[in-house]
């Protein structure tokens, strides 16, 4: 694996960049592996990478039905944060944050992690209290958080309409300074290159069509490129967890919904922070290219179409123009949708399943991208050790039966509400 650096770039520039090797191989699947990861998105690739790096397990294949990073890794709004209130989430996402902070160097691939801060705006006293409660929990969990009152919000984001007579006046905001954004595609590519460097086979255009189980234990998978046996199989296919798990006879507490996002045409820097709203659904940041990247609520019904509809976009944009009046004349350039696993409490699953040797990573709702490093890290641990790490021991399938749900929003088993 060629190390990337300014020196290798300069050296290759001399030969007109004709000497760069492939970032990862495109091997044919072998008949058998120790571990198969279904899903070549960020989570699956990170899992493979950490299986090799942390656990020395390299006889691993990542099977991807399309192109790697082609699911929600390439469709999200690139936000990274760990501003959770409930303990299991807080510790897990904070572990992810720490991995993010070292990821560029760990992978020798600049994933352009930009800690520009994430602000959640509050528009009423109860919301202020709720954010205060969350921020205090973060601080007591060792996570950075600050409360900005209206004047400080205005100073940090001068283009916000902070007038006191606004329809939903901004009363303040919860800031996580270490939050920010990362280049989403690069995360998949960096992990793919890293995993490949450890000898892991990343196999694109290979769809899993069946999961083989004998005596309650997984033995391999059927694929469009033939059967492959494996001692352990991990599913990391969020958005499609339901029907992949169904191949193993499992039914999940998950619905698939579409989450839409959009970007505007690029403009010179006007927004240096990630901003989210408590009145109307909107989160927005500005990419390094200058595009404003926005997301909002899910469309609110089961769908696998990976495309959305106009009303949600209208709402997202109306919210944006209301709070950022200068956005009005900017133009939306692209909209798209991603299919997300909405779980019954808004929190994920990283766990063993009732089938021995079969592991589930899914239920990410909106939160999958920022979880990528820790998700791979603990999933690798769970697979390698056949037991969860303390960071993911709460993210089980049986938490509903046991009454130990992790419900940040308190909306109950209504997936569209999380």
């Amino acid at each position: 694996m060629t190390r990337y650096s300014i020196f290798s770039l300069a050296r290759n520039a001399l030969s007109h960049h004709e000497g760069w090797p492939e970032a990862w191989r495109s091997p044919d699947p072998k008949p058998s592996y120790d571990v198969i990861i279904i899903g070549g998105g960020g989570h699956g690739l990170a899992t493979a990478y950490y299986l090799a790096k942390e656990h020395g397990i390299t006889n691993v294949a990542v099977l991807e039905k399309g192109w790697l990073g082609g699911g929600n890794t390439g469709r999200n709004t690139t936000i990274v944060r760990s501003n959770y209130e409930l303990e299991p989430n807080a510790h897990f996402y904070e572990h992810s944050m720490k991995l993010w902070e070292g990821l560029t160097r760990d992978l020798n691939f600049n994933i352009m992690f930009s800690q520009r801060g994430v602000i959640n705006l509050a528009h009423s006293d109860p919301q202020v209290d709720a954010y205060m409660r969350r921020g205090n929990a973060m601080r007591l969990n060792g996570i950075d958080a600050e409360f900005l009152d209206r004047e400080h919000v205005q100073a940090k984001v001068p283009i916000l309409d902070c007038s006191t007579d606004a329809r939903f006046p901004i009363m303040g905001g919860l800031l996580q300074p270490r939050g920010g954004t990362a280049r989403h595609d690069a995360v998949a590519w960096g992990y793919a290159r890293g995993a490949d460097g450890h000898g892991i086979d990343i196999i694109q255009n290979c769809e899993v069509t069946g999961i083989s189980i004998e005596d309650g234990r997984v033995t391999g998978v059927a694929t469009t490129r033939g059967p492959i046996t494996a001692k352990k199989v991990g599913m990391a296919v969020a958005g499609h967890s339901g029907h992949v798990a169904a191949m193993a006879g499992l039914r999940l507490p998950i619905e698939s919904h579409v989450l839409q996002a959009l970007v505007t045409e690029p403009v010179k820097p006007i927004l240096d922070t990630v901003v989210t709203f408590g009145a109307g659904h909107l989160y927005v940041s500005q990419s390094d290219k200058g595009e404003l990247v926005m997301g909002g609520d899910i469309d609110g019904y089961n769908t696998y179409t990976q495309r959305g509809n106009l009303p949600i976009i209208e709402h997202v944009v109306a919210t944006a123009v209301t709070f950022f009046p200068i956005f009005s004349r900017l133009r939306v350039m692209r909209t798209w949708g991603g299919t997300v696993d909405m779980s019954m409490d808004g929190s994920p699953f990283i766990c063993k399943t009732p089938v021995d040797g079969l592991y589930l990573n899914g239920g990410w709702c909106y939160g999958g991208f920022k979880a990528t490093p820790a998700s791979g890290w603990v999933f690798a641990h769970t697979i390698a050790q056949d037991q969860p790490h303390s960071l993911n021991q709460a993210f089980t399938l049986d938490r509903f039966a046991l009454g130990h749900t992790i419900d940040e929003k308190g909306m109950g088993p209504v997936p569209k509400a999380h």
């Binding site: 209290d129 205060m132 205090n136 690029p266 939306v332 009454g403 419900d407 088993p413």
Partner: protein, 1002 residues
């Protein structure tokens, strides 16, 4: 003609008599009515219009329409400024101001062009490989990179214009008003169908306006005018100009952005600038045309290089010569007509370079005529020039197109017209879930089978002759009408066009090899500055999927969505992979097809109208009294009423104390109110609440708690029995809508057999709480038909009667814990009653109080609200466990036996007081046992409500604390690191005032 050296004195469809002045980069220019900014700039001889995104190379005008990748400008100044506007889409108006963007200090001398010098260090993905060390410096690098990127600038002020939405319905929506679209409209319109025709230009006709040959022996534009006149006379036809259909959604829902007033300096009074149409069409005809494309060759981006069709449009439509001397480079017949028109307009055509070794079709050959040199089997391989084109190099091309033969020949020229073939505009078809298929003959993607009720016609379908487009349109329009239910629709006869003869096949040529030894950039995508070498590098590095290519190189990610660059990019990728184009496939086509302003999408529901405001019947009084308002869902509620000179907390404490010592009144109209009638009403209440309702007497009310199906508390409130089968339920303000939907679900879906009718009467009744020790005395002055004595109307009693002359209902309930009542009257009388109560209470110094005082009063009494009803607490957590009936089934009961819900360590509602009796308990604090414990410090609870109690003269709070009920008297710590506060708190009973309830029963 002064100042317009490239304008012909006659011709085109502009108004030569109406001169318009405009300013570009600070220089004054002239154009004519009917011009676009691009045509006016070309007429004035302005060649360099923009700088490119990455390398800051000089760029000119490349196209004449929406597909323009290069000539992006900053249009207008001040609050109406707009970045990244295609000069080709701007209709000229007098006083227009435009500037080049992404360059400094000017478009002619741009320091950013220094990027070209280090461009070798900037292959695709260079940033992934660098800026990693030292890690801390990435923010600094990023800061610089962000400023370099970004193209135009956003306005600094709010938008002064207005934007509208409208819904529309039709039998047939026709997208595009060119030859195929107009034909389709005539066919469908004559059949009687309700149709909408949307065209993105200022006038209908598309290429008929100037580029097409004669129809029925007359200029094509006359036929178009007759067609438009016929359509305008049809009552069911809507023609929408300047309207781009940008989104094709489910169930034939299409979105149009109409530029109502962009062609004016500013919109007329009350006129929207732009309008979003949301159309539901039974059938759709896509007559969206086709986009010409270029070739990849060395330095193919200089100002002066232009699509052949664009140069033709400038000549024919605008009477503008896009250059003095031109070379035409083509691989198909269409450029010959262009060459002929350019020659006719007075441009010297130095040569036609045809990549095809053979002859063009007869019509093309005829158009070319004699006297223009034609080089067959040749290609333009490189260009010369500084800031703009000065010459091209031409060489013979071998059969496979991958090497050059013979020697270079140079043609001096200032205009190179390129025609690499045509891409049918399949985007909307693809958005409608159609899958475009690759047509080898056309070397282009054409529409595949339709999934929704749509069909393509004309060049959008790959039909490139005028007669073919007209015939296509007629057939598509008639077919669409038939499918929409107008079965008798006939295909009108196709008017006579000139016989164009058989066109010679095109030669699929994407990229021309460079002359030996010449290493110059060969652009695939002009807007994103992606070159052939970039595409090849991406594929070499493993980014072989077309989606990886797009993301790694940014090919097609520009504001033009790769209109001209995508297909050549696919071809180059295919070649470097050794695959063919269909194998490589396309990226997904996503809305919007053309960029749409955020304002158009937002419409009028922004700012103060972002969401409607819900107001109580007494809102006007509150406003007059100077209340501060707080949003509660969509409601605005009075927060407090400060008197002149009074501070916020003074007012709140005054209001609070007034209730405890004399009497106050509060607008509680926002609470949800649900009227329940029917023989099974009590049974229904039994099923939805945890407690029992069968024995509630008429004229009595009761507090109830309802759960979600997972056993968690959903809502609480009182329900009153008004008559034998008639109840009135109240809900919290926040949950009113959710509870109504929940109850309707169970009545309509689960228990349809119950004889119960429910209706929300929240809006019918104004509700006023009257609270305080003097409240009964006030009440006695308001009503004379109800005995309000304690004996006649005890706590939790309900009566109907008359209040200040208005019939209404009286509830003896108390949220504050004082002797209190709630009076409901029809909302039309709400303000009357409110004022009458103020009058009646005058001698007791009756005091209106807002939500802040209400919050303190209920905290003093230990009543729960949102912080406690947080969607994670059970009824038992909140102290209502004993209310749950074991004798009956109720919603959520079955979930209560889950171990996590019966865990004795669950967080339970408790009261909190500061251990020192005076330090305020911070709102939003978390509760720990040891404040000095190293992080992470385990939190055993949280403060859910906190305030200063002016009645107890001490801070108090409510919290939910693990096993809290077993901790009475224990000292814990409320920590708010966000506010830098830590307070020792003692756990108490959550009811601080009158725990025995003597006051409210007084």
């Amino acid at each position: 003609m002064n100042g317009q050296p490239f304008r012909n004195a006659e011709g085109g469809i502009i108004d030569h008599d109406r001169s318009l002045g405009f300013t570009f980069n600070g220089r004054r220019h002239q154009g004519f009515a009917g011009d676009t900014l691009a045509s006016a700039l070309l007429a004035s001889g302005v060649r360099r219009v923009a700088r490119s995104f990455k390398y800051h190379r000089p760029r000119g005008i490349f196209a004449a329409g929406e597909e323009e990748p290069s000539a992006l400008v900053q249009l207008r100044i001040g609050a109406r400024t707009e970045p990244n506007v295609r000069a080709t889409r701007v209709e000229l108006f007098d006083g227009l101001v435009a500037n080049s963007q992404n360059c400094w200090p000017s478009v002619d001398f741009d320091l950013g062009a220094g990027a070209a010098w280090v461009s070798r260090l900037m292959p695709p993905g260079f940033y992934y490989k660098t800026f990693k060390w030292p890690g801390l410096l990435w923010p600094a690098y990023e800061h610089v990179l962000r400023k370099l990127a970004g193209m135009g600038v956003a306005p600094r002020q709010a938008d002064p214009d207005r934007y509208e939405h409208r819904f529309a319905h039709c039998d047939v929506l026709i997208v595009g008003g060119g030859p195929a679209g107009l034909s389709a409209a005539i066919a469908a319109g004559r059949a009687g169908a309700r149709i909408i025709v949307a065209d993105d230009g200022p006038e209908f006709g598309g290429s008929l306006a100037a580029e097409a040959g004669p129809i029925d022996g007359a200029p094509a534009r006359e036929w178009a005018a007759v067609a438009v006149a016929e359509l305008t006379a049809m009552p069911y036809v809507t023609l929408v100009r300047r309207a781009s259909v940008f989104g094709y959604y489910d169930h034939n829902g299409l979105a149009i952005s109409e530029h109502v007033a962009d062609h004016l300096a500013e919109p007329l009074p009350f006129q929207p600038r732009q309008r979003l149409w949301m159309v539901r069409a039974r059938q759709v005809v896509l007559a969206t045309g086709a986009t010409e494309r270029s070739f990849v060759f060395a330095d193919n981006d200089r100002p002066g290089i232009m699509l052949a069709s664009a140069a033709r449009t400038y000549a024919n439509r605008f009477a503008v010569r896009a250059g003095r001397r031109c070379v035409v480079f083509t691989n198909n017949d269409s450029a010959y007509g262009a060459a002929a028109d350019l020659a006719a307009a007075g441009i010297e055509v130095a040569a036609v370079i045809d990549a095809r070794p053979g002859d063009p079709g007869p019509a093309a050959a005829k158009a070319l005529g004699t006297g223009i040199e034609r080089l067959a089997g040749h290609a333009v391989v490189a260009t010369r020039g500084g800031g703009a084109l000065t010459a091209v190099e031409v060489a013979p091309l071998n059969e496979s197109g991958d090497s050059l033969g013979g020697s270079l020949r140079r043609f001096d020229c200032d205009l190179l017209c390129v025609s690499g073939g045509w891409n049918p505009a399949v985007q909307l078809h693809a958005q409608a879930q159609g899958r475009p298929v690759y047509d080898d003959t056309l070397a282009a993607f054409v529409p595949g089978p339709s999934v929704q009720a749509e069909r393509s016609a004309g060049s959008a379908k790959g039909t490139f002759t005028l007669a073919g487009c007209l015939a296509d349109g007629m057939e598509a329009g008639a077919e669409a009408a038939r499918q929409a239910g107008f079965e008798a629709a006939e295909t009108p006869p196709v008017p006579a066009c000139e016989d164009e003869g058989e066109a010679a096949p095109m030669r699929a040529l994407w990229s021309v090899p460079p002359p030996p030894g010449l290493r110059r950039k060969r652009f695939v995508d002009l807007q994103t500055d992606v070159t052939q070498a970039d595409v090849e590098l991406a594929s070499r590095e493993g980014y072989k999927s077309v989606e990886h290519l797009k993301r790694y190189t940014t090919l097609g990610m520009g504001t033009d969505q790769g209109r001209t660059g995508n297909v050549p990019g696919l071809a180059v990728l295919a070649r470097s992979l050794g695959a063919d184009i269909p194998q490589v496939g396309t990226t997904t086509f996503r809305p919007p097809y053309v960029p749409v302003t955020m304002a158009t999408l937002a419409g009028r529901e922004i700012g103060h109208h972002f969401q409607p405001v819900r107001r109580s019947a007494m809102h006007g009084w509150h406003e007059t009294a100077g209340a501060a308002f707080v949003p509660a869902g969509l409601w605005l509620r009075p927060q407090f009423y400060a008197r002149p000179g009074e501070g916020l907390w003074d007012a709140i404490y005054r209001e609070t104390v007034a209730v405890r010592t004399s009497v106050g009144l509060c607008d509680v109209s926002t609470l949800g109110k649900i009227d329940i009638q029917g023989a099974d009403s009590a049974e229904f209440l039994n099923r939805v609440y945890i407690n029992a309702w069968s024995k509630l007497g008429i004229g009595r009310c009761r507090y109830g708690v309802m759960l979600r199906e997972d056993g968690i508390t959903l809502d609480d409130g009182t329900t009153s029995r008004l008559a034998r089968n008639h109840y009135l339920m109240t809900t919290t303000t926040a949950n009113a809508g959710a509870v109504m939907g929940h109850l309707e679900y169970f009545l309509q879906v689960v228990w349809p057999e119950l004889d119960v009718h429910i209706i929300s009467v929240t809006e019918e009744w104004a509700a006023i709480a009257l609270a305080g020790p003097d409240s009964r005395k006030v009440l006695e002055r308001l009503t004379d038909d109800i005995d309000v004595s304690n004996e006649a109307l005890p706590f939790m009693g309900v009566r109907e009667g008359t209040f200040a002359g208005v019939p209404g209902r009286l509830f003896r309930i108390s949220f504050s814990g004082e002797l209190a009542y709630e009076i409901n009257v029809p909302a039309d009388y709400g303000q009357h009653l409110w004022e009458a109560m103020l009058e009646a209470g005058k001698e007791f110094d009756i005091t209106p109080y807002g939500t802040e005082a209400l919050g303190i009063l209920r905290t003093e009494k230990g009543h729960v609200v949102g912080g406690e009803l947080n969607g994670r607490t059970t009824a038992d957590d909140l102290g209502f466990g004993r209310m749950a009936s074991s004798a009956k089934e109720f919603i959520g009961k079955r979930s209560l036996n889950r171990p996590g819900l019966t865990d004795e360590n669950r967080k339970q509602l408790v009261g909190l007081v500061p251990a020192d009796g005076k330090t305020a308990i911070p709102r939003g604090a978390q509760i720990v046992t040891d404040p000095d414990q190293a992080l992470p410090n385990p939190m055993i609870g949280e403060v859910t409500s906190a305030c200063y109690s002016p009645n107890l003269e001490t801070p108090i709070g409510l919290g939910i604390v693990a096993a809290g009920r077993a901790r009475m008297g224990e000292t814990l710590y409320a920590l708010s690191p966000m506010r830098g506060k830590r307070v020792a708190v003692t756990v108490t009973n959550p009811v601080f005032i009158d725990p025995e309830g003597e006051r409210l029963r007084a």
